[in-house]
Amino acid sequence: MRMSINDVSVTFTRAGSTVEALKDINLSLHEGEFVALLGPSGCGKSTLLTCLGGLMTPTKGEIVVGDSVVENPDPRRAAFVFQDYSLLPWKNILDNVGVGLRFAGVGKQERRQRSQELLEMMGLSQWGESHPGQLSGGMQQRVAVARALAMDPSILLMDEPFGALDEQTRRSLGESISTVLTQNKQTVVLVTHSLDEAIYWADRVIVMSARPGRVMAEVQIRQPRPRPLEFIAQEDFAQLRSQLFLMLNEAMGHDQQANPLEPQRA
Amino acid sequence: MKEHKTSPLVWPLRALGLGALIGVWAFGNGPGGISPLVLPTIPRVLEALGEALSQFSTYEAAAITFGEILAAFIIASVFGLAAGFWAARTPLRLQVFQSIFVWGYLAPLILFYPIFILSFGTGVGSKIGYGAVSAFFPIAYNSLRAFATVQPTMLKVAKAFGASSFQTDFLIKLPSALPLISSGVRIGAGASMITVIFAEMLASTAGLGYQLALNSQTFAAPQAFAMIILLMALVGVLQGLVNLLLTPRRDRGKIINVAH
C-alpha cells in the first residue's frame, strides 16, 4: 500500500528537558517498494518506525497510508518486527508466532498451521514447542519476523530484524523472505546497520543524519528484485557500497568542515 | 519500579482519602448510630491524645517500648549476621541451615509468646527476648543467602590478585552481600516491632502496648484510640531511623519499594 510521511517531527519531553529525535521528515513510498533506513545509532530510526506503525503520534506532521491518516496500530495494515524482539516469554514459539492471529480471532487450527508454515520458512520448524528463553538471539529475531509475516500485512516494518544473525543464515533467509515479499507486493521499511543488507534488499536506501534525525540522502538501487546472490559480487554493488559508506560517514558527523551537506546540529 | 513524573493529583487524592476516612468515622458516630462507647467521636479522641501528651508517664511508656524494640533489634542483628556468616562458610552447613532458617521464618512465632512469659516473666526481658528471636530468622536467612551468593567472578578476581581470606571476607564478600543483608535487617526490624508491641499488649506491666491493652480492656475507647495514634507515630519514627540506617547515601530521596 502507498504510504507518505508528511513533515513529521518528533520531540521527546522528559523531566523538563526535550530531545528532538526527528525533524521534518518527508518521504513517500509506493506500493511494493522496499526501503532501507540507514543512520547513526540514536538518530531516530526506531522512532520513525514506531510512528509509521501508529504506535506513536508524531509531535508534528502526519503519516498517510492509502487514503487515511495513521492514528492507531493495525497489524493487517502494518506489522512490526521490534528491535528487541519482544517475544512473550510465557508463550511457546508457535503461540508467539500466532499471537496476532489469535488477537484477530483466527481459529486455533488455522493459526497453528499458518504459524508452522512460517516457522518452517524461518528454519525453526522443530522449535515450535520451546519457549523464547531457550532460543538464541538470532532465533528469537526470526520468530519475531514470522510473527509479523503471519499477519500478512500490507506494510512490514522491520527494526534490525537480522542484526544477530551470521552472514550465511542471513543470506539464505533473505532469499526466501524476499521471494514472499515480492510475491505479495508488500511495502517494506527495514532499519539496518548493514550496508550489504540495505543494498541487497532495498529498492531505495535512505540515509539519516545524527540527531535530530533528518533525511540526508537517498540512493536508488535499480537492480530488479528478488536479486540473485551473485549481485553481491558485482561491480555495481561495490560502487553503491562505497558511495553509501561515505554518506554514512558524513551522517555520523565525521569530516564536518569538508562537507557542505552536513545540516546544522543542535 | 520505574520513576515517573509525580501526578498533580497525588495530594488531592490523599486529601480525599483522609477526608473519606474522617467522613466514614463521623457518619458512624452520627447517622450511623454507633455508640461512642465503641467508636469514640473524633473530638474525644483528640482530647484524649492531648491529655496523654501532657503526661510524663506517656513518654516513659514510649521510651520503654522504643528501648525494647531497639534492644531486640540489635541483639537479633548481631546474632543473625553472625549465624548467617558462619552458616554460609561451607556448602554442607549452608544446605543444613538454609532450611532451618526458613523453617524459623515460616513458623508463626507470634504464637509462642506464652512460653516467653513463663520463662522470662512479664517484664522487659521477655519482650526483648521474644522480639530478638522473631527478628533473628529473617536476618539470619537473608545474610546466609547474601554471603552464599557472592559472584564467583569476584572471588576469582580476589584470588588472582592475592587477597588473603580475611581480605576476601571484608573487601569482597561483605560489600557484595550488603544489599540482601540490608533487606533482611529491614524485615527483622519490622518483625521486632510487631512482636514487641504485641507482647506488650498480651501481658506486661509497662509500655505503650500495655497502655493500649489496658485502655481497651477497661473500655476507655478514646484513650485506646489515642494510644493507637501514638503507636503509629512511634512506628513511623522507627521506620524512618531504619531507612536512614539502611539506605545508602546516594540513594536517599528515591522511593524504594519493597514488597514484603
Binding site: 506503525g53 499471537v99 | 543444613v96 506464652p114 536467612y141 493507637i228 503509629m232
Partner: protein, 262 residues
C-alpha cells in the same frame, strides 16, 4: 550432598531436642516453664484424641479460610486498580506501605470494640491483615508488566480483555502468587493473633487458656503442631510457585521470593 544435608538437618533438630531434655532433666531450667520434649510428645498424642482441641482446630481453620477469601478478594481488586493507575499508586502506595510495615495488632482493639470478642472479629482482623499485603503485592506484580510486551499487544491489536489475558496476567503471575501466599499467611496469623488476644475459643484462645493454667506441655504441643502445619504449607507453596512460573529463566531467584519476603 543432598542426603548429607538431610542428615545434618535431622541432627540439628535432634540435638536441639536433646539439649532441651537434658537442661530440664538436670534442673538447669525449670521444666514447669518450658516443659520437656517427652512431655510435649505425650501431650501431642493425647491432643489428637481431645475433642476440645479438634473442634478448636476446625473453628480456627474455618476462620482462616474465610479471612483469606475476604481479604484476598478485596486485596486483588484494590491491588489491580492501584497497579493499573500510576496516579493512584503514587497517591496511596506510601500510606499502604507504611500500614504494611506497621504492626497490625495495634488496631486489634478497634476490631474488638466494633465486632465484639469472638469469631467475627478474628475473621475481620485476619481479612484486614491479608488485604493489606495482597493489595501491595498485586500492585507490585502489575508493575512487572513490561512496556515492550504491552507494545506487542498494542501493535498486534489486542482488545482490552486479550491484553489482560495474554500479557498482563502472565507477567503479573509471580506477583499474584506471592500475593496469594501473603494472603494465606497473614489471614492465618491475623486470626490467631485475634484469638490469642481476646477470645477463649479457637486455637489461639486454647493456647492462652493452657498457658494461663500452666499446662506448658499442652501449650507447646499445640504451638508446635500449628508451626508444623505452617512450615509444610509454606514448603508446598514454594514448590508450586517454582513449578507454575517455570518459564522465567531466573526461576531460581524467583523460588526464594516467598520465603525471603515473609
Amino acid at each position: 550432598m543432598k542426603t548429607q544435608a538431610r542428615i545434618g538437618r535431622v541432627a540439628v533438630v535432634v540435638a536441639g531436642l536433646l539439649v532441651w531434655e537434658l537442661l530440664t532433666r538436670f534442673d538447669l531450667i525449670d521444666s514447669d516453664f518450658v516443659s520437656t520434649p517427652i512431655a510435649v510428645g505425650v501431650a501431642f498424642t493425647e491432643m489428637l484424641r481431645n475433642s476440645e482441641v479438634l473442634s478448636a482446630l476446625a473453628s480456627t481453620g474455618g476462620n482462616i479460610l474465610l479471612a483469606f477469601i475476604i481479604g484476598t478478594v478485596i486485596g486483588v481488586i484494590a491491588g489491580t486498580v492501584m497497579g493499573l493507575s500510576k496516579t493512584l499508586w503514587q497517591a496511596y502506595s506510601a500510606p499502604l506501605l507504611f500500614l504494611m510495615s506497621t504492626p497490625k495488632s495495634i488496631f486489634l482493639p478497634i476490631f474488638i470494640l466494633l465486632c465484639g470478642i469472638g469469631s467475627t472479629s478474628a475473621v475481620v482482623f485476619g481479612a484486614f491483615e491479608a488485604a493489606v499485603f495482597v493489595t501491595i503485592n498485586v500492585a507490585a506484580g502489575m508493575a512487572l508488566v513490561e512496556d515492550r510486551h504491552m507494545k506487542v499487544a498494542r501493535a498486534f491489536k489486542a482488545s482490552w480483555a486479550q491484553t489482560i489475558l495474554a500479557v498482563v496476567l502472565p507477567s503479573a503471575l509471580p506477583g499474584i502468587f506471592t500475593a496469594l501466599w501473603f494472603g494465606i499467611r497473614h489471614a492465618f496469623i491475623g486470626v490467631l493473633i485475634a484469638e490469642l488476644w481476646a477470645s477463649s475459643d479457637g486455637v489461639g484462645g486454647l493456647i492462652r487458656v493452657y498457658a494461663e493454667q500452666l499446662h506448658t506441655d499442652k501449650t507447646l504441643a499445640l504451638m508446635l503442631a500449628v508451626t508444623f502445619l505452617a512450615i509444610i504449607a509454606g514448603t508446598i507453596w514454594n514448590h508450586l510457585e517454582t513449578r507454575l512460573t517455570r518459564w522465567r529463566q531466573s526461576s531460581a531467584a524467583g523460588a526464594a521470593t516467598t520465603t525471603a519476603t515473609s
